[in-house]
Symmetry: C2
Subunit: 190 residues, 2 copies
């Protein structure tokens, strides 16, 4: 049954990728290792050939989940014209699609309150991802001084995360849309 080193590395990458999706979809606590391994097309017994513990997987999965998030935002910024790169970022983050696709969206919006209770390693990964987002957004505030731009970006990213999370909690679809819409408008009028 042994697989080549190449295959094994590929398997490990697949487990992390599936974990990143499953954790965001159902929550870290509610996702069992069996769920993750099944999603990767494996049985749960093999897990410990790749990781020392669930916590180790959590930290790696969070890192894997943050990576494309930053890339997406950079891509959105590049796609928008020079003037409305902020609009492109804000629009791509505060849209119903992002709200409705937990497993592909922002890690922090999907797992915020669980991350706050996670171990240092995982929180450090989330912190780094957050700072990366802040940095990318800060670069778009071209007319502000660097320090002011960073402060503004800190507030903007925080508000966006809060808005997406809140839009997922609320039971009234109109209210959910209003949260995204008003936050978006507010950040663009800034």
């Amino acid at each position: 049954m042994k697989k080549s080193k190449l295959e094994a590395a590929e398997t490990r990458r697949r487990i992390v990728k599936m974990a990143a999706a499953e954790f965001r979809r159902n929550g870290i606590h509610a996702t069992g290792l069996s769920d993750v391994m099944a999603a990767a097309g494996l049985t749960h017994g093999g897990f410990y050939r790749h990781f020392d513990s669930k916590d180790e997987l959590v930290a790696e999965a969070c890192a894997a989940a943050m990576e494309p998030a930053a890339e997406n935002i950079v891509a959105a910024a590049c796609y928008g014209a020079a003037n409305d790169s902020v609009e492109a970022i804000v629009t791509s983050y505060l849209c119903p699609d992002h709200r409705d696709n937990l497993s592909k969206g922002c890690l922090i919006a999907a797992l915020g309150s669980e991350l706050a209770r996670s171990d240092d390693k995982t929180r450090a990964v989330a912190t780094a991802g957050f700072l990366k987002l802040v940095e990318v957004v800060a670069k778009q505030y071209r007319r502000a001084k660097p320090k002011a731009a960073k402060a503004r970006a800190l507030v903007a990213v925080t508000a966006m995360i809060g808005a997406v999370m809140m839009s997922r909690i609320v039971t009234d679809p109109e209210l959910s849309a209003a949260i995204l819409q008003h936050t978006k408008k507010h950040l663009l009028d800034l």
Copy 2:
């Protein structure tokens, strides 16, 4: 062993109150019924004399947790002078004390991502609590038209929730303080 009706009602209230604290402290999933009952000074077997299921307790505990939150904000608003009632609210919400005392703080900031995956009953309770906060904050924007005040309050409450949650995730204490501080300043300069 039977207790009087009065005592039984008091016990039930105590269970809900303890659950509201334990859920916020450790998360809903991570808090067992045994934990809650022990916190209330009881053994876990008696739980089903008071509730049909854990989900029922979750919904009631969330309601119990939102009630004082709205009251606190109203109190903060009343305490502040007419002009800076917004400042009083924002300051009381975005302070290190609130960040560091999960079990007594805002339900949504403490359990946001778990609430997003909870059943309709619990999400409805959270939605009602959120709208109550928005309403109280909207009243403080006295110079704005009602509709604009509500929109502004929606954004402000969402941003505050996001800021407190984020300040709990981040591993760097200075960054954590900066998130609260910058969000506060931003909401007051509004």
